[in-house]
Amino acid sequence: MAGYILKRLISAIPVLFGISIIVFIIMAMIPGDPATAILGSYATPENVEKLNRDLGLDKPMVQRYFIWLGNMLQGDFGRSFSLNRAVLDEVLDRFGATLILAGTAFVLCSILGIAAGVVSAARQYGLADKAITFAVLLGISIPSFFLGMMMILIFAVKLRWFPVSGMWPIYGARDLPALISHLTLPAFALAVVATGVIARLSRSAMLEVLRQDFIRTARAKGVHERSVIWRHALRAAMVSIIPVLGVQAGFVLSGAVYIEMVFQWPGVGRMLVGAILKRDILLVQGGVVFVAACYVLFNIAVDVAQSLLDPRIKT
């Protein structure tokens, strides 16, 4: 097992390289003088010139890429001019909040999505299936930011069940109950779209599996139908559901941007939007590279989960 994890980690290196190249290319598309773009329009000419030297802008592209990459590998993501702070520090501070939000949403959408898909498949064309299919259609069609706003209106303003926004109460203890009450609405709002996608896929994966011969075998053994569905069929269907969970994790992680804006959640997404509006390029770059790298690592975890589930995968 450890060997397999190591192998997957090594295979992630080219992907991480690819990501860094893509980000580098995008950053190289900045119109005008990059140093001015990085330092903001109020930078002094001396600073601009110094940065141009540091970035090696007089050197060829390939060389510049390796200087850039080398800096990042040493943890030097540059300084954000708008915050006057090291980019990496800011990103790390914010990433925890995003991780709590996206992680909760991911757990929610996985459990709800799979359960809905299984029930839907087991009762194909029945009432439950129709209701779930309609809810799923609504879920994947509603913009998460609009849903978030409507949830605030209903559950925070009208019913007063949850706070309107933020991650912590302004006054009062920063404890788990406070976090949960702040987290509930944004986590659900973030999970809805992914829940719909996962439910849809789980349904069709289940339907495909339910036609397989080994399901007939389980029935011929006299296994109870409940167990046929949840043990035999779901386990086999998970083989095609898990990769989709990996993809959806990416959507949840990056879709957190909208939810963080709507709920004033102090995460990386909100930081990125602010940085883009202030044209703080280095902060954007740092946030993007960091989140993308985390996502690659998460996908390794997905592969490992897949290999634990499916003994046919050589580990």
């Binding site: 259609l137 706003m149 209106l153 397989q212 006299g222 386990r235 879709g255 804006m261 003994p311």
Partner: protein, 628 residues
């Protein structure tokens, strides 16, 4: 194309989506012609007017601008940007995909690795990075959304292109000296365009949503110009005091995206061959029963008896009569062979006994299955479940497909026992090892923890048998359990089954298409053709003197060792399709003796000699002969 539209029209939801989308597009197109207020003229004294107020049907926003007018203009902009992004992404993505798929080799490799890298990005993040570099603005948001969707199109189109690029007509075009560019334009593109259109129809909703999202974040359209996303973004600060300013644009996005998704689903369903063939229908826990006539009486003193069993497959308006009235019976210690070509209905007969025919489309339409005098057809699920695997067990063909790939054989054996008898885990494990031992699997203590894919075909088949024996059943129904195996393994498994029959007094129904197997194992044999039994009797009599022409022809197809140059006579023609069974004898078309009387009325299965039955008006042997 027409058929496709018809199919789409039959899907009411998709049609609804199409109509809603058509209306929205129409509204967007005629917006400049409508008598609307200027969407950008502010009128602060009249801000936040409620909907349905005078002179403002949907109210006004935080600057007193008419919401209806802004909504229509915003919809127009959102649709335009979404469509434009989709067209840009589809064009570029298709171009990349076609080049990668057409040229293959290294070009393909480099391009597809790049596409994989792009897809490894959480993709809203990529769009944000692009907007960050280009600066906020609607055009830049469009570019970003199009760019992040290119990999999706590239990958899909490449897949299709690879399939087409090696077809004969492309080779022909190459040989005729056409340039690559011409081949791509005249030969490939026409075949790829439908796929591009479908991919667009399923992604355009996303693109509208994504551009709206970027605008919502303030990174897309800039004031005073407003699309639906930026309307929603601006309304956010007044969400609590004046929710209608948020609800109006938000609901519009929802309506548009939902209509597109409905339409996209309809298109996808209309084109999915699996939906048409019913391959995505969930089989029920028991076969559906719709008996039109009264169930036949039980015959006393038989363990398991089928009486006039009829099983059909109902697919759309077609009815396939897979089993058309079958009578069979077995008693303890007896082995009954059921023999016939593929498609003769023998497997369906076997599966019907315990209600295991996949349903839909399978339906048991008549007859009865008596187990110790009790009818199992139409018995409640729990009754059938308690008998399945406990009293009546199955052994299936192709154990790689019939064993669960993700559980160890031990787990599957244990489950078979525990489904009927509550025994604790360690006792169950010991039982599983005993079972593996009883089917002569070497090292059962280790093998119990193996997965099916780690075993050979013969081993897996033994596991299948062990599973059937888990609860010491009275009847075993073996559906071609040795067909996939080589002869030595086959012989071992047959003798294993034979031993079990003698030792435990098992009743076996053995389904096969192999006369050699029948001769070795079964005292009695029933020959099936087109869903009916055409001949039944003691194995010896039938093998020595087959009465039905079909049986004799079937036996003539079997080569014999050491009998020199006997002529192997394949039966001409094919078995009839069971949704269009001819009148009279189903075999008449292929029978050398057939005459006009064979093609009329219903030919009954009649006693022929002492213990034989045959469904033929001109049997190969005289009844007296068969007697001796």
């Amino acid at each position: 194309m027409m058929a496709f539209l018809k199919l789409l029209a039959r899907n009411r939801l998709a049609l609804g989506g199409l109509i809603v989308m058509g209306l929205v597009v129409l509204l967007a197109l005629i917006t400049p012609l409508l008598p609307l207020a200027d969407p950008d003229v502010t009128d602060t004294p009249n801000r936040f007017k409620k909907p349905f107020s005078e002179s403002a049907l949907l109210g006004t926003d935080h600057l007193g601008r008419d919401l209806l007018s802004r909504l229509l203009w915003g919809t127009r902009l959102s649709l335009a940007v979404g469509f434009a992004a989709a067209i840009v992404a589809a064009t570029l993505g298709a171009a990349i995909g076609i080049i990668a798929g057409f040229y293959g080799g290294r070009t393909d490799n480099v391009i597809m690795r790049g596409v994989d890298m792009l897809m490894a990005f959480p993709y809203i993040l990529l769009a944000l990075a692009i907007v960050a570099v280009l600066g906020p603005g609607l055009m830049n948001a469009l570019i970003a959304v199009a760019a992040v969707n290119i990999p999706f199109f590239a990958r899909n189109i490449r897949g299709i292109t690879v399939g087409i690029a090696h077809k004969e007509f492309v080779d022909a075009a190459r040989l005729s000296g056409m340039t690559d560019a011409r081949i791509i334009l005249t030969e490939l593109l026409p075949n790829v365009i439908p796929v591009i259109v479908i991919a667009m129809s399923t992604t355009i909703g996303w693109m509208i949503l994504e551009t709206a999202g970027l605008s919502f974040l303030g990174l897309g359209s800039q004031p005073p110009q407003a699309d639906l996303g930026s309307m929603l973004g601006e309304a956010r600060s007044a969400l609590i005091t004046n929710p209608h300013t948020s609800v109006v644009p938000g609901a519009m996005i929802l309506i548009i995206v939902m209509a597109i998704n409905l339409l996209g689903d309809g298109v996808r369903d209309a084109l999915d061959p699996r939906l048409k063939s019913g391959a995505l229908l969930r089989p029920m826990p028991t076969t559906m029963v719709k008996r039109t006539e009264a169930a036949p009486e039980a015959k006393p003193d038989t363990l398991l008896a089928l009486r006039g069993l009829k099983t059909q497959f109902h697919v759309k308006d077609r009815v396939y009569k897979a089993v058309g009235g079958v009578d069979l019976q077995v008693n303890p210690g007896e082995c009954l062979g059921v023999i016939g070509e593929s498609g003769s209905g023998k497997s369906v007969t076997a599966l019907s006994i315990m209600g295991l025919v996949a349903s839909p489309p399978g339906v048991i339409t008549g007859g009865a299955v008596h187990y110790k005098g009790k009818d199992l057809v139409g018995a409640p699920y729990e009754k059938l479940r308690s008998l399945r695997g406990d009293r009546i067990a199955y052994i299936f063909q192709d154990p790689l497909a019939t064993l669960h790939p993700l559980y160890t054989v031990g787990d599957q054996l244990i489950e078979a026992a525990r489904a009927h008898h509550p025994i604790d885990k360690s006792a169950a494990r010991a039982h599983a090892i005993d079972l593996l031992k009883s089917v002569r699997i070497p090292n059962p203590e280790q093998r119990v923890d193996s997965y099916p894919h780690e075993m050979s075909g013969g081993m897996r088949q033994r596991v299948g048998i062990a599973m059937a024996l888990a609860n010491e059943p009275e009847v075993i129904i073996a559906d071609e359990p040795t067909t996939a195996l080589d002869v030595t393994v086959q012989a071992q498994i047959l003798s294993l089954l034979d031993d079990l029959r003698r030792e435990r007094g098992l009743a076996i129904i053995f389904i096969t298409h192999d006369f050699g197997v029948v001769a070795q194992l079964c005292e009695r044999v029933a020959v099936m053709y087109a869903g009916q039994i055409v001949e039944e009797g003691p194995t010896k009599t039938i093998l020595n003197a087959p009465a039905h022409p079909y049986t004799s022809r079937l036996m003539a197809c079997v080569p014999e060792l050491g009998h020199g140059r006997r002529e192997l006579a394949a039966i001409p023609g094919l078995p009839p399709v069971v949704d269009k069974l001819p009148e009279g004898c189903a075999f008449a078309e292929r029978c050398h003796k057939a005459n006009d009387t064979c093609r009329h009325g219903n030919i009954e299965l009649v006693r022929h000699g002492a213990d034989n039955f045959v469904r033929c008006i001109a049997p190969e042997t005289a009844a007296q002969e068969a007697c001796q």
